[in-house]
């Protein structure tokens, strides 16, 4: 089997660490995981950002703000899955964590206006449907213009 490109190795390491711990790793942790120089990890972060697979923390390229669907910081979309707590970037990504991990999941989210607790649940590969709605404030052509707002 041919050796994987470095950015793919880094991407896989990011997601493996995140899935195993619930926390999105920084460049140092990825460097240790796959035994490469941290500068090479940072270069891979830039490549993955260009491919819209990762968003570095603004002002700190060593940290990852988003490795979609996972968030590198706590958000209003916590997701409980595999006995761990993850954070999703948005309501789409709350379901995305269940889809990515292929497991049951519960997100104890809240109404964007009232703050009322609203629970999203995925069981046996299907969502438990409720009459809730998601509002997409930004058109698809502009999702990556300001991904944190999107």
């Amino acid at each position: 089997m041919p050796e994987l490109d470095l950015d793919i190795q880094v991407k896989l390491a990011i997601y493996e660490i995140t899935a195993e711990t619930g926390s999105v790793p920084n460049s140092s942790q990825v460097s240790s995981k796959i035994s490469i120089e941290e500068d090479e990890v940072l270069a891979a972060f830039r490549q993955l950002h260009a491919k819209r697979l990762l968003l570095p923390e603004p002002g700190d390229p060593h940290r990852i703000r988003m490795a979609p669907p996972f968030s590198g910081v706590p958000t209003r979309f916590p997701v409980e899955a595999n006995c761990r707590l993850y954070y999703a970037n948005c309501v789409w990504d709350a379901y995305g964590i269940a889809a990515a991990l292929h497991c049951d999941a519960i997100s104890r989210a809240s109404d964007g206006h009232t703050g009322e607790p609203l629970t999203l649940e995925v069981k046996n590969g299907e969502p438990i449907l409720k009459p809730y709605v998601a509002h997409f404030a930004v058109p698809a052509a502009h999702w990556w213009d300001d991904l944190i707002f999107t």
Binding site: I97, T114, L120, A137
Partner: protein, 76 residues
């Protein structure tokens, strides 16, 4: 992208923040979007859908029009 109990609270949020009301997506559509985007995200071959693929995914979920077109310039 935020979650709301109902269309009513979406409208209240849009008014409170002076943000235009945009399309709503129900939970079944949202789950399908999540599966299309992320089901293979932890694998070697994972990648974000290309623009033309995105359009087909959105269309399959009845999400059509320039809002859902990643190449649209109508919103600039």
């Amino acid at each position: 992208m935020l979650l709301f109990r109902s269309e009513e609270t979406v409208n209240q949020w849009c008014a409170a923040h002076n943000i235009p009301r945009r399309p709503l997506v129900n939970l079944q559509q949202l789950w399908q979007l999540a599966v299309h985007w992320y089901a293979n995200r932890l694998t070697v071959e994972s990648r974000r859908p290309a623009p033309d693929e995105m359009v087909l995914i959105f269309k399959s979920l009845d999400l059509t029009g320039p809002f859902w077109d990643p190449k649209s310039d109508q919103w600039r």
